[in-house]
């Protein structure tokens, strides 16, 4: 287990359990999850579909509550994360009746900022988010990557120190995904937010993160914590380097321990 006793932890998840009612019986989804994210760290959670990663993120975001265990933000336990933590999902969730710009300012608007002021602030960032010239378009006119960047802009405009990303590139095609990963690297390296990313893409996890948590299939349990010591700034070319391959092979270890056919089917699914 990687320990970061020296760093002040931004998010600390301790002994977290969660179960759901499935067909009349309780099924454990998250089993004794321990997770620590330091300030300005980029942490990924990786695991097979159905391992409860999204449930974990929902709990951290304050949308759901654990059966037992605690989530602590900057040492404050029991405060709701709603409205304090940026959260982005796989679906862009843009409102179809709002233009790109008005979608981006939604959060600011909800917090009472006048539209005009909010728009001015958003306009300063549209270029970096690759949305310049598309501010007054409705979402349907945008490509998948652009929609996702518009959703990013909406999340980032809230200027939260903690940002949770639930497979933000999951719905994109492979090439767009790589572009978005590099773009996110750039974004993170310039803003230094504390980011928790959920993914089932190993390359994505290694490329972006300082640390990767591997969850097992149901019930989700932390089976491995991998420190990614690749130098920064990073770029996608590093994916082909031996150091990268070594890390990836280590990530595959917990999977190899499983039954052979399970490991094979998972490797086929998770590998890019």
């Amino acid at each position: 287990m990687a320990s970061d006793a020296g760093i002040t932890s931004k998010i600390r998840v301790e002994s977290l359990n969660k179960s759901f009612n499935v067909d009349g019986h309780r099924e454990l989804v998250l089993d004794d999850i321990q997770l620590t994210v330091g300030e300005g760290e980029f942490v990924s959670i990786i695991g097979p579909s159905g391992c409860g990663k999204s449930t974990l993120l929902n709990i951290v975001a304050g949308l759901d509550s654990p059966d037992s265990g605690t989530v602590t933000f900057e040492g404050n336990q029991g405060v709701s994360a709603l409205g304090r933590v940026g959260y982005m999902q796989q679906k862009d969730l843009l409102l179809p009746w709002r233009t790109v710009l008005d979608n981006a300012i939604l959060g600011l608007e909800l917090h009472g900022m006048p539209r005009r002021q909010a728009r001015t602030r958003a306009l300063e960032l549209t270029e970096f988010f690759g949305l310049k010239g598309y501010e007054s378009q409705y979402p349907y006119a945008l490509s998948g990557g652009m929609k996702q960047r518009a959703a990013f802009l909406r999340t980032m405009l809230m200027d939260q120190e903690i940002v949770l990303l639930d497979e933000p590139f999951g719905a994109l095609d492979a090439l767009t995904r790589v572009q978005m990963q590099e773009w996110l690297l750039q974004l993170w390296e310039s803003l230094r937010k504390t980011i928790v990313l959920i993914t089932h893409d190993m390359d994505e996890a290694i490329l972006l993160s300082d640390r990767v948590y591997v969850l097992t299939h149901r019930p989700g349990r932390v089976t491995m914590v991998l420190d990614v010591d690749l130098p920064r700034p990073r770029s996608y070319e590093q994916v082909t380097e031996p150091q990268f391959a070594r890390l990836k092979s280590r990530l595959l270890e917990p999977l190899r321990e499983k039954k052979r056919e399970v490991a094979q089917s998972l490797a086929g699914k998770e590998g890019l």
């Binding site: 409205g83 304090r84 959260y87 179809p96 009746w97 909800l110 349907y140």
Partner: protein
């Protein structure tokens, strides 16, 4: 041709000038042709078999009657239109308020909503005469019949729309710090708009029928009254003229609702068009 098809024939003439107008009108070609065909057969049938006017007037005789009685028809049209407009506004206002309450409160949804749905099985025609006893012979009972009939599609569609929100969208709003009221005004209400307009379009289409029912039960003016008054006098061409005006009114109100919808929901129509182009 002086009936509704008159519109289309003049449209046909305009088409020659602009090519894009032609392609816009093309979907209308088939129904207009069929309608014209029916009118021609009708006209010929009346002539060939020499059917008397009081039994079945020919389209041309109806046209003549429309022209001859235009001031009389206009007078009664305005009465009926007033009933429809007032009844529709009452239905819209009460429908939206009730839909909002039902979508907002689980208790109301469980208690009031089933009653609203069950109320639809009550035949309004049977209630209409009672309204005369309760509120008198004036415009009120007609307005109430229109409101009762329009209310249902508007309320039910709006409730469906308010509940059709994507739960992920709600979560997204919550993580941005939205209050329940903000989720309602900024997410649920816009989501419900296209549904509400579907209800409005259904309601406005049947509002004409509702007004006629209201007038049949007891009235001294209006197109429905004109029909019940003219029929025993065997003024069948006038009955048909009134029917033509009623249909034209229904179509116009529907078109008006559609135009308002397009103006209010530009995103919805461009999105639908973009999707249909993709499908092609």
């Amino acid at each position: 041709m002086k009936d509704p098809t008159g519109e289309y024939t003049s449209g046909h003439r305009g088409q020659g000038k602009i090519g894009s107008a032609l392609s816009k009108l093309r979907p209308w070609a088939a129904p207009v042709t069929i309608l014209l065909g029916i009118l021609v057969i009708w006209e010929l049938g009346v002539q060939v078999w020499d059917i008397p006017k009081w039994q079945l007037p020919s389209p041309s005789a109806i046209g003549q009657e429309l022209a001859a009685s235009r001031s009389l028809l206009l007078e009664h049209t305005l009465v009926t239109l007033e009933e429809i407009v007032l009844g529709f506004i009452a239905a819209l206002a009460s429908g939206l308020v009730l839909a909002t309450a039902i979508a907002y409160s689980r208790i109301l949804e469980r208690s009031v909503y089933p009653i609203v749905i069950a109320s639809q099985t009550v035949p309004i025609i049977a209630i209409a005469p009672l309204l005369l006893i309760w509120v008198g012979y004036g415009i009120a009972p007609k307005v109430i019949v229109v409101a009762l009939i329009c209310f249902y599609p508007i309320a039910v569609n709006t409730v469906d729309g308010l509940k059709a929100v994507d739960p992920d969208m709600v979560n997204m709003m919550k993580t941005l710090g939205a209050s329940r009221w903000q989720v309602f005004t900024k997410l649920q209400m816009p989501t419900a708009m296209p549904y509400m307009f579907s209800g409005i379009k259904v309601g406005i289409s049947v509002s004409v029928i509702a007004a006629v029912i209201g007038e049949w039960v007891g009235a001294s003016a209006g197109l429905g009254y004109l029909i019940t008054y003219s029929q025993p006098l065997f003024l069948t061409d006038r009955v048909f003229a009134a029917i033509v005006v009623l249909s034209a009114m229904g179509i116009s109100l529907f078109v008006l609702a559609s135009v308002v919808e397009r103006l209010m929901l530009p995103w919805y129509y461009t999105e639908k068009r973009a999707n249909s182009i993709e499908r092609m």
